[in-house]
């Protein structure tokens, strides 16, 4: 039976955009591209999410936070499903999300995650999120989290995180 009072998927997506990534609190799960599908299956809401980096400790929290917000709003029965394929890519991050990263002091991922030169650390255009210079150099492939590299700016001399593309 279809209940006409229930939330439609656009409203639910809007609601889910209040769930933030605990590792990067500036970003919500919708603009990160973590939410792959929201649909009603009879009376059960199915929210499909995809993991970002493997073993990212934020994923479990995100799943719980989604459940919490759905319960708070009395959405009804729900299931949070996980899908691995197609694999999450930083290309799914919205432009708005990239800009938020930059304002948080994290250099956003380059687009075109399959470009081998990006992977090999030969990125020429990692921009310093502080002063905007491209004169930057990688200190370590792995930074404060597995998803970020540690860089330094050779102009303003500030260290910063670069969100690696995958």
């Amino acid at each position: 039976m279809v209940n006409d009072d229930r939330w439609n998927t656009t409203e639910i997506l809007h609601l889910l955009s209040e769930v933030y990534d605990p590792e990067i609190p500036a970003l919500n799960v919708v603009e990160m591209g973590i939410i792959r599908e929201v649909k009603w299956n009879d009376d059960t809401l199915e929210v499909t999410i995809t993991p970002t980096y493997s073993a990212c400790p934020a994923m479990k929290t995100i799943e719980e936070d989604i459940g919490e917000i759905l319960r708070e709003k009395f959405i009804g029965q729900y299931k949070v499903l996980t899908s691995l394929s197609p694999a999450w890519t930083t290309d799914w991050m919205t432009d708005e999300a990239r800009e938020k990263l930059r304002s948080e002091g994290i250099s956003p991922p380059q687009k075109g995650s399959t470009d081998k030169s990006l992977l090999m650390g030969k990125i020429r255009d990692v921009k310093c999120p502080m002063c905007g210079s491209y004169d930057t150099s990688m200190i370590s492939q792995f930074g404060s989290t597995a998803c970020k590299s540690l860089y330094k700016c050779l102009q303003c001399l500030e260290p910063f995180d670069y969100f690696k593309c995958i």
């Binding site: 899908s83 597995a146 995958i166």
Partner: protein, 158 residues
């Protein structure tokens, strides 16, 4: 060094393994492999960078990475050994023939070692039996370390 040299050996193996796993008949494993592969490339690059930095660094760093490699050498042949489960999964089209990865693995590792100015130790006696549940004495210490918190504080939570 004792973590980066095994990591480079393992990541090289894992990258090759996952590349093949992308063609698995099992859809879940296919998805898993395609996703993991993107990350393992970073791991391999990171570990290789360190092997090169150490090997091509000071006399001290070179000695240390050589010792690390020599310590791990006995464990490498098991990468390419199979057990009954591997054989079954290969026949079913779920995983690749693990022994066939060896040539590409040698090449990947050799490239890094050449750049690091290091020689690969000759393949010698290999520790075996891990897949059958037979482990060296190291396992006891590893388990003790990993179980310490739960055993000392039963039911501990963050």
């Amino acid at each position: 060094m004792h973590s980066q040299s095994p990591d480079s050996f393992f990541s090289a193996w894992y990258q090759l393994y996952l590349e093949k796993l992308c063609q698995s008949k099992d859809e879940y494993l296919q998805g898993f492999a395609a996703k993991s592969l993107k990350e393992v490339k970073y791991h391999l690059q990171h570990a290789s960078d360190w092997v090169i930095r150490m090997g091509d660094g000071t006399d001290e760093s070179k000695q240390r990475i050589k010792k690390a490699v020599s310590d791990i050498n006995d464990f490498l042949p098991e990468f390419f050994m199979t057990d009954e489960l591997d054989e079954w999964a290969r026949v079913e089209g779920i995983i690749t023939d693990i022994t066939s990865l060896k040539e590409d693995w040698n090449k990947l590792v050799l490239d890094v070692f050449t750049e690091a100015g290091l020689e690969l130790p000759a393949a010698g006696w290999g520790q075996r039996g891990g897949k059958m549940g037979r482990h060296t004495e190291h396992l006891g210490f590893i388990l003790a370390e990993m179980q310490h918190l739960q055993r000392s504080y039963p039911g501990a939570k963050w």
